[in-house]
Point group: C2
């Protein structure tokens, strides 16, 4: 039944059913979320086909999960039992690079790497670098992807000017446009960004671009304690130097990511022995002399803030370090981390948060190490604790500590399915109820990625939410 309907829409070559579904389409990169084999994977070639699939799913009462590159870290792209995965691998064209308006119009399957390669020759940049360049822009929009450059440029949300999207009704809407401001009705664009496929399927995005600065410099400052690193962040941000990124990396994570990438930063052993954490700051600009002048001033400031030393890395070493940091997740996974956390807290609360995390780790006999986008308060932790019950309790407490400091459960990975239980426990029930009503406004049948962000609506037919009979 599903097979016939979907074949009629996308054609047999673009449909996998049951056992024919590729293993890769059954999971994303979230640790600890089990793969699920969907009833079908479709690869539509147009917005009209996506809309037809959603209409069919609504009529059949079958859940729909959108899939980009599958690089998500929260389980939001893990299929729902009995559901349909809509893969955007055939909708992967850069439709337009509009230089005069500094706008790119892309289909959801375009990867960050592809877009960057197309923009570099034009002297433009889409400045969201969440670390995994094979990630798709559709996935980035759905998770409001962030990354290291958020302290300067903001996150995906700040660069999505407009969307084309298919509602749960199968209706297609276009939101926003090639402009940064409008007050003309509710901002549907921003509502869909970060909604993890639960409100609509994004079929096109209008993205804001920026002039591409030609010069960079990377400073590396070891500190005696993680707290000192964290305390150095607000003054660096306040200096007006406008850093591209401000990262902290603790000692163990630094050892892990440099070893994983096979790089040697040439830091003397004595400094390495004394350093419990590192601050990495990258500056960029259109003028080489200004970047050099700011680098000099920042080095002085970091020394005054207590750095054990300050290294201005040669270009290749700076690039290698940032690249290694971008792959911290893989280093962590290779080291056997049992789970990861990407909570966000107010920037100035990072020291207090890391102290809380240290206490929670010690109390449970766990190893919790990390690095993070210190400039914007987004802390990334790797949790090593083999006992699942202890681990689940620890993870929950680590997230609760962030919320208690005025933070949020996830800075950029999303709630997905992985953090659903903690989020449900830590979020205001009034807001959760409001979000459910908003979901119903977009998706009256409850078929769009049910069980993601919050539990599927129990009042809906069981099939729609992928529940087994």
């Amino acid at each position: 039944m599903i097979g016939d309907r979907l074949t009629a829409i996308v054609g047999a070559p673009h449909l996998d059913l049951g056992a024919a579904v590729a293993d890769d389409d059954c999971h994303d990169e979230a640790l600890g979320v089990a793969p699920v084999r969907p009833a079908a994977v479709v690869r539509p070639g147009s917005t009209a086909e996506v809309a037809a699939v959603v209409v069919a799913a609504g009529e059949l009462g079958v859940p729909v999960t959108a899939r980009g590159s599958g690089t998500g870290l929260s389980g939001a792209a893990v299929p729902v039992e009995g559901g349909i995965v809509v893969s955007f691998e055939r909708m992967a064209s850069i439709l337009e690079l509009d230089v005069a308006n500094q706008v790119a119009v892309v289909e959801p399957g375009v990867t960050l790497a592809e877009l960057d390669a197309a923009l570099a020759p034009l002297g433009l940049v889409y400045p969201v670098f969440p670390g995994e360049q094979s990630a798709s822009l559709g996935g980035n929009v759905s998770t409001n992807a962030g990354g290291m450059r958020a302290v300067k440029y903001g996150v995906t949300r700040h660069h999505v000017l407009g969307l084309e999207a298919v509602l749960g009704t199968g209706e297609v809407i276009s939101t926003g446009g090639r402009f940064v401001k409008a007050t003309s009705g509710y901002d549907l664009t921003q509502l869909i960004v970060g909604s993890e496929g639960t409100l609509a399927l994004v079929t096109r995005a209008v993205l804001r671009l920026h002039p591409r600065p030609g010069h960079q410099s990377t400073l590396l400052a070891p500190f005696a304690t993680v707290e000192q690193v964290a305390e150095a962040v607000p003054p660096v941000v306040a200096s007006g130097v406008g850093p591209l990124l401000v990262e902290y990396i603790d000692m163990i994570s630094m050892a892990g990511i440099t070893a994983n990438a096979g790089i040697d930063l040439g830091i003397p052993q004595a400094v390495r022995d004394a350093a419990l954490a590192y601050l990495v700051v990258v500056l960029e600009g259109h003028h080489e002399d200004r970047v050099a002048e700011d680098t000099e001033a920042l080095a002085v400031q970091l020394a005054e803030l207590g750095a054990l030393d300050v290294y201005v890395l040669p270009d290749h070493a700076g690039h290698d370090l940032i690249s290694a940091r971008e792959h911290a997740f893989w280093a962590s996974k290779a080291a056997g981390a049992d789970d990861i956390v990407d909570a966000v807290v107010p920037r100035a609360s990072i020291p207090a948060y890391l102290a809380d995390v240290g206490r929670l780790a010690a109390a449970t006999g766990s190893l919790v190490v990390g690095c993070g986008h210190a400039g914007d308060g987004n802390v990334h932790l790797s949790v090593f604790q083999a006992d699942p019950d202890v681990r689940h309790g620890l993870l929950h407490d680590i997230l609760a500590a962030a919320v208690a400091l005025g933070g949020a459960v996830s800075g950029e990975h999303g709630i997905g399915t992985a953090k659903l239980a903690s989020y449900a426990d830590l979020e205001d029930p009034v807001k959760l109820a409001l979000m459910r009503r908003i979901k119903t406004a977009f998706d009256p049948h409850g078929i769009l990625n049910p069980g993601t962000v919050f539990a599927a609506d129990a009042s809906l037919p069981a099939a729609n939410r992928g529940a087994r009979p």
Copy 2:
């Protein structure tokens, strides 16, 4: 009945009923929107009182309109017949200036001028300057206020990190926090921003601040045609110089705003005779020498782009010109303008848009002049056409022309009640229906500013939407 309920909540001194309502509370600054006397004006002193008023209004079936400083230009703060105005004049405290996190926490009645005065000594700035410094931050949030600096900093939306707000149910929610990134549920903050009081009443805002640059320079470049000015904008933005503002002002508007402000820019008569329009660019920075160097480079670029001449204005003259431009609305009103437009189009489409507007003006024997935030495609027009029927048709056609070019009906003033009919006509019915469902999710009784943004829901009780029996 209403009087007793409201007196019990806010106390008699903070309540005006019927004829005792001040004339000032019956209107905003929208041209052509008639004042309406509400049943009551309340001035609550706390979020709890606001919530109690909303609960009472829901039970009584009475519309509620939020009011800040009343400087809006779309009629969104004009009361609803028989309704309650919630004035935030007593909730006007700066609750916290959090320097480490570069965040201000304010009540809705705080004005832009008050916040700026408090931030300047700290070396910080809230960079949204919509022109009217007596405007309240609550009003700014509700209309997603923009202004001249949006080309560098974005608009209100980009600086609201979190909100406390009262839903139409009387429930109070807190959204976001002191961080720029999160993917933890739907972005309720961004949904409320720009919703013109139809989704919730904002009782507190967490605002993003920036280091306050100490140096500015102002360039004024007359051009022979408006089209040349508009065509110069994309290259200036693309240069990477990061201008604080990029404004175009046509000849008639320039004469009007300088005369209204009593300033003389010292431009030779021969240049003035040849100039049909002016480009104003302001640069700012933390380093005086860099601002000077960029000013020089920009002057060369503007000359190459066809400017008749380029003037780097002395500080006081630059300040006077920008101040006069900020008050363009008042100059326009003083000159007898019958209505104003603030449509937005893609930046590169401004020449085409102004050509369309010129044709529409000529065809109806109207005078349409203007200036605008050229850097972000936001065109401000003053329309002189005394015949109301001709004017309404012309206004509609001017807005339709913006939408046809991929723009939007309002860049920053909002739809309010003034542009409701055109918006309803030009917006996708699928999106309008979705927005109505979203409104219902926030405001099930339909009491929050009914008849603003879109027509009140006819299925609701007549009293709730302020309809006369």
